[in-house]
Symmetry: C2
Subunit: 150 residues, 2 copies
DNA sequence: ATTACATGTAAATATAATTGTTACAGGTAA
DNA sequence: TTACCTGTAACAATTATATTTACATGTAAT
């Protein structure tokens, strides 16, 4: 099992809008960078829009960030693109046997433990911003270019 | 997306073996408590066995724990039942465009962030033992019985 | 040895999620 | 009106999950 790449693509989209801020970031343009179909980008973009992370309007080419780079955390993106439902990172078997002391209580016993672990994950995502990602991308690209010019 | 319930079932199995330690925990018996097919239990049990968490032998009825309760963490179970591959909790889109500064570096930028979050999750699981779960199960069952006798 | 019953495991199925594709309705501006 | 964009739905291909069925293999008691 793996969490949908919509999350990674969402991060990609936001970083690309920033780095291409002097250009026009259409779904076609973004799809070319992500290497997927423009409709996929538009769908994810719609989710980012609903979450208040980007501004984009029907008929008008290009998307813009709706917040400061440093005010968008990975957790915001993760929630926006809906890759994991609240409290449902881990699934639990349904209908354990209520006539068994274990079956009767296992769900109540496990649920808070799973929620705890999920919270730890999400907290970690909340500490990183898109600004961090963009900075890293620029550093890496500069380093690449420097290597190439040698 | 959700992490397979094999994890929750694995925890259920181990707790049940402990609580039924004076009885014989066959795959049929366990399946009755989990409320699933015995073949499912045998498959998961095989994984727990490979991970050194339970002792079970072909032809001989019943499973036993292979370690102390307090020496089995939820992380051990999680790894045993193979619900999330190493470093692959989050998936990343493949083949982003190498001719774009974002596409060219996004994977390297994101991977360590994702690994970090996954580690936070797993660390949380490492702090809980099956002993904790069993204690909670017993508490909950006692409380249930007390209510019923009133 | 045969019987009874357990585990180990593979194959087949149903269900659901992910990703990509195509198509088209509707918005905007030159 | 034309050209191009976003928004969205329908469809297919792929993959993972969960369950069921079946059977080979191991063990022990009669």
């Amino acid at each position: 099992m793996s969490i949908s790449s919509r999350f990674a693509v969402g991060i990609h989209i936001l970083a690309l809008i920033e780095i291409n801020k002097d250009g026009v970031s259409t779904s076609d343009f973004i799809a070319g960078s992500v290497n997927t179909n423009p409709a996929v980008i538009r769908k994810i973009m719609g989710m980012l829009k609903n979450a208040g992370l980007v501004k984009v309007r029907p008929g008008i080419a290009g998307a813009q960030l709706a917040k400061n780079l440093s005010d968008i955390t990975l957790l915001d993106v993760y929630k926006a693109v809906n890759v994991v439902q609240e409290k449902e990172l881990f699934s639990i078997h349904e209908n354990p046997n209520p006539d068994c002391p274990v079956g009767n209580n296992i769900q109540d016993a496990i649920i808070p433990l799973f929620e705890n672990a999920q919270t730890a994950l999400e907290k970690a995502l909340g500490h990183i911003t898109i600004e961090d990602v963009v900075r890293d991308l620029i550093d890496k690209e500069n380093f690449e270019n420097k290597k190439r010019s040698n």
